[in-house]
């Protein structure tokens, strides 16, 4: 199962100011099987988060990624953990892709000690620095300069790695992107700006928020590539191309044409600004998991039965993780005062009633 397969991407790449990579993508049966399984885990995890939210075990904002899995998975297939990734609040699956585990995800979502941010970050603030994942940011657009800063540091440190900074179609209009891109271009930073174009920023269709929704071209003087973000192989090819390009020539924009099945966050039904037909159309024709499933079957890499079994395993894995996460305790009250600083100089910090609760910062 480690023979090389060459598979053509669904549609050609569209390039701006650069030559598009080949549509022929090299893969292998085992890679395709892994893609299938990993995307299935992500899908299942997000569905489970939806349920946990509805049963009030998850609070606040919760943004789900189902539909967009091919971006996270395809990107990881092209890079390594010394490359950096930074994204916005829709971060559960990116964390998983970087090697995070399900218990850490669910524990964080439920505000428990074993969460990836020990329950202090919440849904929007996952990190895994040891595998190059820098969060998890709640302010639209902010992660892009931050990502360019990671790329700056990689270049400064002479590490031959790159940073992928993910942002949405809504975020693509933010001025700080243009500022960061200009600096990145001036300084030849190995920064790849990945616009996950799921066609809506909250309830606003791309064309209502952007005079030019051709996001791969929005870098103007910076090259760009439009990619079918529902095709994991296209994503992989594009990210491979982007990494090489960025190390040699500096920044590049990848526009991933993708789709979110869920509403914007758990408080958005996601059905007032788009039709149900649109959603089900994408599910039927472009679903990233279905696409891989078809490949696995048509190339006789797996049988229907085997894939069903995988799905069952995945379900079990997710359920077990939830059970484990539920057992994780909530943070200690004293954790209120940890991690404010790396170095607190023994200063006193105060609770809401400073005469009742105070702590000495380590």
């Amino acid at each position: 199962s480690d023979t090389t397969l060459t598979i053509e991407t669904s549609i050609p790449f569209t390039a701006h100011n650069c030559d598009a990579p080949s549509r022929a993508v090299e893969t292998s049966p085992s890679e395709l099987l892994t893609f299938y399984r990993d995307m299935a885990v992500m899908r299942r995890m997000e569905i489970a988060a939806d349920s946990l939210y509805k049963s009030k075990l998850i609070r606040g904002f919760c943004h789900l990624y189902d539909g967009q899995e091919a971006v996270a998975i395809g990107m990881e297939a092209a890079i390594n953990k010394k490359d950096c990734i930074i994204t916005a609040y829709r971060d559960h699956c990116i964390f998983l892709g970087r090697g995070g585990n399900l218990v850490e995800v669910f524990a964080e979502l439920m505000g428990r000690k074993d969460g990836c941010s020990k329950g202090k970050g919440g849904s929007m603030h996952f990190y895994k620095k040891d595998s190059g994942f820098y969060g998890g940011h709640g302010i639209v657009g902010a992660q892009v300069p931050l990502g360019c800063g990671l790329a700056f540091a990689q270049k400064y440190s002479k590490d031959e790695n790159v940073t992928f900074a993910l942002y949405g179609d809504g975020a693509a209009n933010q001025g700080q992107l243009f500022e960061a891109l200009n600096i990145s271009a001036l300084w030849d930073l190995p920064a790849i700006l990945v616009c996950e174009n799921n066609h809506y920023g909250m309830g606003t269709a791309e064309w209502r928020a952007a005079k030019s929704p051709a996001y791969y071209k929005r870098g103007d003087y910076v090259p760009g590539l439009k990619v079918d973000g529902m095709d994991v192989l296209a994503v992989k090819q594009a990210c491979k191309f982007a990494k090489e390009h960025a190390l040699k020539n500096g920044p590049l924009i990848l526009e991933m044409d993708t789709y979110r099945y869920h509403g914007h966050s758990m408080s958005d039904p996601g059905s007032t600004y788009r039709t149900r037909d649109e959603i089900s159309g994408v599910r039927q024709e472009r679903d990233p998991i279905e696409r891989i499933k078809k490949l696995l079957l048509s190339h006789e890499i797996a049988t229907e039965k085997e894939l069903k079994d995988t799905e069952k395993e995945v379900r079990k894995e997710v359920d077990e993780a939830i059970a484990k996460a539920k057992e994780s305790p909530v943070p200690e009250p004293s954790d209120l005062f940890t991690n404010i600083y790396v170095k607190g100089y023994g200063v006193e910090a105060f609770g809401a009633d400073r005469k009742e609760i105070r702590a000495t910062l380590p």
Binding site: G111, G122, N173, P331, L336
Partner: protein, 334 residues
Amino acid sequence: MTVRDALNSALDEEMSADPKVLLLGEEVGEYQGAYKISKGLLDKYGPERVLDTPITEAGFAGIGVGAAYYGLKPVVEFMTFNFSMQAIDHIINSAAKSNYMSAGQISVPIVFRGPNGAAAGVGAQHSQCYAAWYASCPGLKVLTPYSAEDARGLLKAAIRDPDPVVFLENELLYGESFPVSAEVLDSSFCLPIGKAKIEREGKDVTITAFSKMVGFALKAAEILAKEGINAEVINLRSIRPLDRSTINASVRKTNRLVTVEEGFPQHGVGAEICASVIEESFGYLDAPVERIAGADVPTPYAANLERLAFPQVEDIVRAAKRACYRSVQVAATA
């Protein structure tokens, strides 16, 4: 009437009364507002007066200020005030200072509004209170409604006011219902800017609060009443101008003061109130001013920590008792 309906009706009435009033911000139109404050307004006033913007706070806030320079009366909605930091230069340097720098040529009749401060479970980047920052800046007025009456009367006042107003709502109050009088429902209703409201009279201790904390202070006052402490609760309503005279008059009567806010303590509203009282009524104070505020930490997500990060009713009760020299438990170290 809910606070949401109060805000919605105030916007509606002022838009209907003055064709120069318009609303812009993210999702205010077709989506009816992220928190549905602008429900129905697009339908009623059309896309020329209810404008959905891209997620570009600096850009649309700057455009709002420029439109105000020209004489329009824009209401700029921030989906939450956390995002106003992307536009803060326009609020401070373009809006607050222009009338002064131009010696009165360029007035800026604009309202910046949206939910401020903590919501539930939204973490450190989405929970900050901006009352103290904005209210430090001369040229701005900063209003903080609590009830439906406040919301209606202050928003109408803000829109009619010729100066830039920062209008800080609270997401957790949107759905809360308050009884309102017929007067409040009248379309001419308006509250004075710069005046606090005594929500509850008392003689033993003064409690100042704004926004959601007014409700907590009132609950604390009820508990205190049962223990024989008669608290006066002041709903500040306006942080700039701050109603120093109402606060000082109350303290001169009660001789004791507890300040309550959800924001960070350092350089907060409580500190200012304390200084104002020390400056004007030093001799009247029978006990140290007690300051209840958000914990001095970024807001944690976990529910148990989040609860510790913001004032609770029992914190106010405890502080008021301390101010009245009633026995309270010994301080603990977390």
